[in-house]
C-alpha cells in the first residue's frame, strides 16, 4: 500500500502529464511546463497541509 504522500505525488504526476500534453507543444516547452505544474501541485499540497495543521478536526 502506498502512503498518502506517494499517492498525492502520483496524482500530481498524472495531472501534470495530462495538462502538459493538453496545452503545450514542443519538447522544451512541454518539459518546462510539466515541471512547473508538477512542482506547484506537490509543493502547494504540502504547504496547504501545513497551513491547515492548526485547525482542529470536526
Amino acid at each position: 500500500m502506498l502512503d498518502h504522500l506517494s499517492l498525492m505525488v502520483l496524482d500530481a504526476l498524472l495531472i501534470a502529464v495530462f495538462f502538459t500534453f493538453l496545452w503545450k507543444r514542443g519538447r522544451k516547452e512541454r518539459w518546462l511546463y510539466f515541471w512547473k505544474v508538477f512542482g506547484a501541485l506537490v509543493v502547494g499540497a504540502i504547504v496547504l497541509g501545513w497551513v491547515m495543521y492548526p485547525f482542529p478536526r470536526g
Binding site: M1, M8, L10
Partner: protein, 132 residues
C-alpha cells in the same frame, strides 16, 4: 491537406465525434489524427481510473440530500465507457473504511474530469479553434 490524408474525425458530425471522444479516452484525438497525444491521454486517464478502482474509490451516483454528489456524478460519468463497464461488473462501489478511499475517489474524479476536458479539446480541434 488532401482529401486522402484528411482525418476521419473531421468528416464525422460533431456530436458523434464528441460522443466517441467521451466514450473512450483519446479516441477523439485518434480520429482527428493526433495519435501521440491520444496515446498519452488514453494512458493517463486509464491509469488514473484503474488506480481509483484499486484504491476502493467510488464511482459516484446521485445521493439524495447530498447536492455535491450531483457534481461528483458528472465527473464520474466523464469516464465514459470505463464508468459504464465498471458499474456493470460491480466495481467502483467505494469502501468508505478503506485507508485510501478518499484517494481512490480523487483518482476516479480526476480521470473523469480529464476525459471531459479531452472532449472539449477534440471539439476545439474539430471546429478549427485549435490547429494542433
Amino acid at each position: 491537406m488532401t482529401e486522402h490524408s484528411r482525418p476521419v474525425g473531421l468528416s464525422l458530425p460533431i456530436p458523434i465525434l464528441l460522443g466517441l471522444a467521451w466514450l473512450v479516452p483519446g479516441l477523439g484525438h485518434v480520429l482527428l489524427g493526433r495519435r501521440l497525444r491520444a496515446g498519452v491521454f488514453f494512458l493517463v486517464v486509464v491509469v488514473a481510473f484503474l488506480l481509483g478502482i484499486v484504491f476502493d474509490g467510488e464511482l459516484v451516483t446521485p445521493h439524495p440530500g447530498d447536492p455535491l454528489s450531483y457534481l461528483a456524478t458528472v465527473a464520474s460519468l466523464g469516464n465514459g465507457l470505463l464508468f459504464l463497464v465498471a458499474r456493470a461488473v460491480g466495481l467502483g462501489q467505494g469502501v468508505v473504511t478503506a485507508a485510501a478511499y478518499e484517494f481512490g475517489n480523487t483518482f476516479l474524479l480526476t480521470a473523469g474530469m480529464m476525459n471531459l476536458l479531452l472532449v472539449l479539446d477534440a471539439h476545439d480541434i474539430a471546429t478549427g479553434k485549435k490547429d494542433w
